[in-house]
């Protein structure tokens, strides 16, 4: 199924008041960056302990 117009409207409304640019994409970028840093730290941790 595809998203209905009402669902997309509700989804897009979340980012309208954000003070950040392109907040609808930026939140995913922030998650990916932090997740990669955590994974890298976990690799380092495995080799140290």
């Amino acid at each position: 199924m595809v998203q209905t117009e009402a669902a997309m409207e509700a989804y897009n409304a979340y980012w309208l008041n954000s003070p950040l640019p392109a907040a609808d994409v930026l939140w995913m970028v922030v998650i990916l960056v932090i997740a990669i840093v955590a994974l890298w730290q976990a690799r380092t941790f495995v080799s140290q302990f």
Binding site: M1, V2, Q3, T4, A6, A7, A10, Y11, Y14, W15, L16, N17, S18, P19, L20, A23, L26, W27, M28, V30, I31, L32, I34, A35, A38, L39, Q41, A42, R43, F45, V46, Q48, F49
Partner: protein
Amino acid sequence: MDLQLLKKQEHQRRVRKGFMWALFCAILWGLWYIPGTVVWVLNPFDEMYAEIAATNGDGMSLIITAVLITAFNALTVILALMVWNGVLGKFGEMKRTLKEFNPCSKWFFLASIFGGPMAILGSFIAMGFVGGAFAAVAALMYPVVGSILASKWYGEKISKRAFAGIVFIIFGGITIFGGGLLTEIGAGNVVWIGYIGGLMAAVGWGIEGAIAGKGLDIAEPDVGLTLRFLGENIIWWVIAVPILAILGFPMFKYALMVFEPLTMLVLVFAGITFGFCYVTWYKSFPLIGVGRGQGIGNLYGLFAVVFIALFFGDIPDWTILVGGALCLIGSSIMFSEDTSQLESLRGE
């Protein structure tokens, strides 16, 4: 070099890492509220909510929809944890731990009952009935439950400083619950089930932490946590979802409609944040103890409010801000504790 000095340095390094993992947990947990909130308005969940609400009312509809969202959240968490364990080369260890049910895996399956049906579902209920910021901070009381249980059950040491931190968190929690409740009573709109959801989250995660602390005495956190989510997936997909379908709710109809790119994308990001936050939470327990790990992990409330303000532009109510600040002070008191106090996490 002096052996005692080396031992002290190694101990300090372990404590620093423990606090680092707890902080990662807090950041990722706070971020989870972004996909955890927006997923509700996407198909098929919005249509599922509308269909059930038309026949069973809004309250029931919210809980049933939350079950399906939580089940999918558990599924994407397992995918994220497979990546995590794959990168760390832990699949062999996973097989070994799974085989040892009685000494190891049983604790993680037990943890999944309190963390899944109780805490995560409760958090979704709080989010749906009251709001994302409320749900994020309502569960802040969970370290109180976790540290008391860990202390009574297997003698984890709770210092005066850690106790002071807990007291601040209790007052923070009271401010959050009481303030929000007073505001809603004034408006004549008390959504009790939202507050019950918040309570379920606090008690559920506290009990889960204490149980996990016991299991982590003999098992690895990365693997233990994956088994805990394996247990949660079984609870949702083998027990809860089929039972609700038998009771006449359209669970499988909407479960099969979830394969839509945007919905899947949001669920995958919910899985990454939740899976990674949980695994870092578990990693902190053997290094700094359940009470402190949960105390620092508690900063998720603050991060959630910050991320919600940044990405949604929502300005939180003053009671949530005051309560969140008190909880933050409590967590900071634990964080700044002298590390020599942590040399042995258990009582003699």
